[in-house]
Subunit: 415 residues, 2 copies
Amino acid sequence: MSGADRETLLWLSLLPCLYLASLCSAEQGLEFPSFDGKDRVLHINERNYKKALKRFDMLCLLYHEPQPAHKGRQKQLQMTELVLELTAQVLEDKDIGFGMVDSQKDAKVAKKLGLEEEGSLYIFKDDRVIEFDGEFSADTLVEFLLDVLEDPVELISNPMELRAFERMEEDIRLIGYFKGEDSYYKAFQEASERFQPYIKFFATFDKTAKHLSLKMNEVNFYEPFMEEPAILPGRQLSEMEIVEFVHQHKRATLRKLRAEDMFETWEDNLDGIHIVAFAEEEDPDGYEFLEILKDVARDNTNNPELSIVWIDPDDFPLLTTYWEKTFKVNLFKPQIGVVNVTDADSVWLDMSNDEDLPTAEELEDWIEDVLSGKVNTEDDDDVKDDYDAVDREERHQSDDHDDHGDDYDDHDDSD
Amino acid sequence: MSGADRETLLWLSLLPCLYLASLCSAEQGLEFPSFDGKDRVLHINERNYKKALKRFDMLCLLYHEPQPAHKGRQKQLQMTELVLELTAQVLEDKDIGFGMVDSQKDAKVAKKLGLEEEGSLYIFKDDRVIEFDGEFSADTLVEFLLDVLEDPVELISNPMELRAFERMEEDIRLIGYFKGEDSYYKAFQEASERFQPYIKFFATFDKTAKHLSLKMNEVNFYEPFMEEPAILPGRQLSEMEIVEFVHQHKRATLRKLRAEDMFETWEDNLDGIHIVAFAEEEDPDGYEFLEILKDVARDNTNNPELSIVWIDPDDFPLLTTYWEKTFKVNLFKPQIGVVNVTDADSVWLDMSNDEDLPTAEELEDWIEDVLSGKVNTEDDDDVKDDYDAVDREERHQSDDHDDHGDDYDDHDDSD
């Protein structure tokens, strides 16, 4: 490989993932797009931001750090712009504008527009702003923006559509029963716009509502994986009542990590800690573990201290081996542990006995130990501070093998 | 943007999709890998191929066209290598080797190894070869290779795991009931290795089998979306009997397009034609349409002429707008049509009446018209050759608006 190629390679070293069109194919119909080199992303400043807002149905602004001095970070910023360029190209016919806002040079504009978090993408649609803080890939962005283009409220009008609604257990969903497009429906619709596309809103105007035992103008809120909905207080709701209810309840007892808001979910930890469960839904073992987890979540849905992040490794192939290394777990099998998001230090429940997954009760006991602090990521960092140390030492001595005889495997490199 | 940056941009124009790590995050635990610039992909030739085969548990060889003279194609080949490099980096601890084989320079090696299709990746594991002809992205490749590393037969040992098995309706699945790891099980296992990871094999050694009414040593074959399995002939099966049965039945009546074998599926058309259905499973409309499709597929499962490719646009965000442009359809709604894979010419069933999706019977009638040639992509290319032309003309005249009054919308630019 020549020196120049090597440089290009290094340039590309910032690319965590590369896509390629079909390498050779006589058939037509599956051509992946490749970036055509045309500039579509605007550099937003005080002079052009108003015009940009007016010109497009939807404007997506990436709020980014100032041009960095470090060459690697410069390239990274350029790559970000390229991701936006490709997204803009793919969505060319959808009347969506794209722009970059420099947090230093364009500080005034940023303030006017209310941009706050560097690295986030802000989507301006009508008079609301949607923040995107997910995986910054063209795939995820395109899918996200196509979702934003859809109607924020989906109508459910027959039993089959109701079944589709009932199957979406992974999502936070609200459903309302209205006479038609009256003022109560409008309030519901306006509330929906504030959460689109993260939280799904459905409405029905007909007898489908009876299957859900919805009364007229009533709204039900379904937490992910819960069978029974929460009924919103009062029957005729204002936009703000709905919005407030959603804000209060949106951190679910069990929530699935999704590419479109993965960093936001990760930021929303409880005291710097996440209870993380890895389970492949497509795998019999993973499915079984997930069913146990759901039982535990259903039993504890009223505990505001508890929020388990479920990660399906199939959704994040590029992170799987990174997680295996960082957390020292085998992700071919289900796992549950506590992760400290400050240093990625973690403790995992020992499920090395291949035959038996823990029961819901065992899992609940372990979770209780986590919530009480008995199981935590710090204990082994300094064993002398460990109130449980003697107990642990004793058990170590009575065991033939080291860590695996313990209640949990502690995987921390730092001590 | 400087000239040099522009060149880099053009260089990158071959990249259909770019990934980026978290742009800024104080939290740890979600770091996407970026390519570290280290060479891990081998250039395979007559001198080193045997050693490479010996050295790794698994060896992945990309069989590629000779170094092209065209600069764009050169870069594309380099990008392919980069995808492999990143994949190799991510899977570094899994003892997988990666290499490139030039179809011209390394023709002899390629012949010895049995490499045939340029652009395919061949995976050597034990003494078998698995061909990968899917989306060439690091995501898809990593997920695919992790699947290949798993055991080819999954054991089902309790009712919950059985439920997981029953839910996998999208996949071709085989399940066998055996006494234990005896010779009949071994034959099943060896057959499974020939189809891993495309076709899923399960086995049970216990009373779980009764729920499936499996007799000892019996194997059941589930076509995607079918409720009743096909029972393999005879009860005690040899590896070859299983392999042959799978080969005979593997083109399903309804099959979902998957990233890991999308090009292979597309190549496996019937006389250059695919019946393609677009439906978002997550969407109430899409779900409803899919249920109708499944009914049609179940009614026609014995028709070898019929194989419908279901595409969920959510699985291919970067292709969605390309398909909308190429086929001139709105993919926010379900669609079904006939696509000619030679020129991507297509005809779509008119479902513009928003309220009503076609019934299973209407869909069956349309499919019959497709299979009989009455609905096809060529009719309008030269209306004079259209045996149905008079009939169509008449209908055109009696309609107020042009194409949309027809039974189907024909979206072809070439005439």
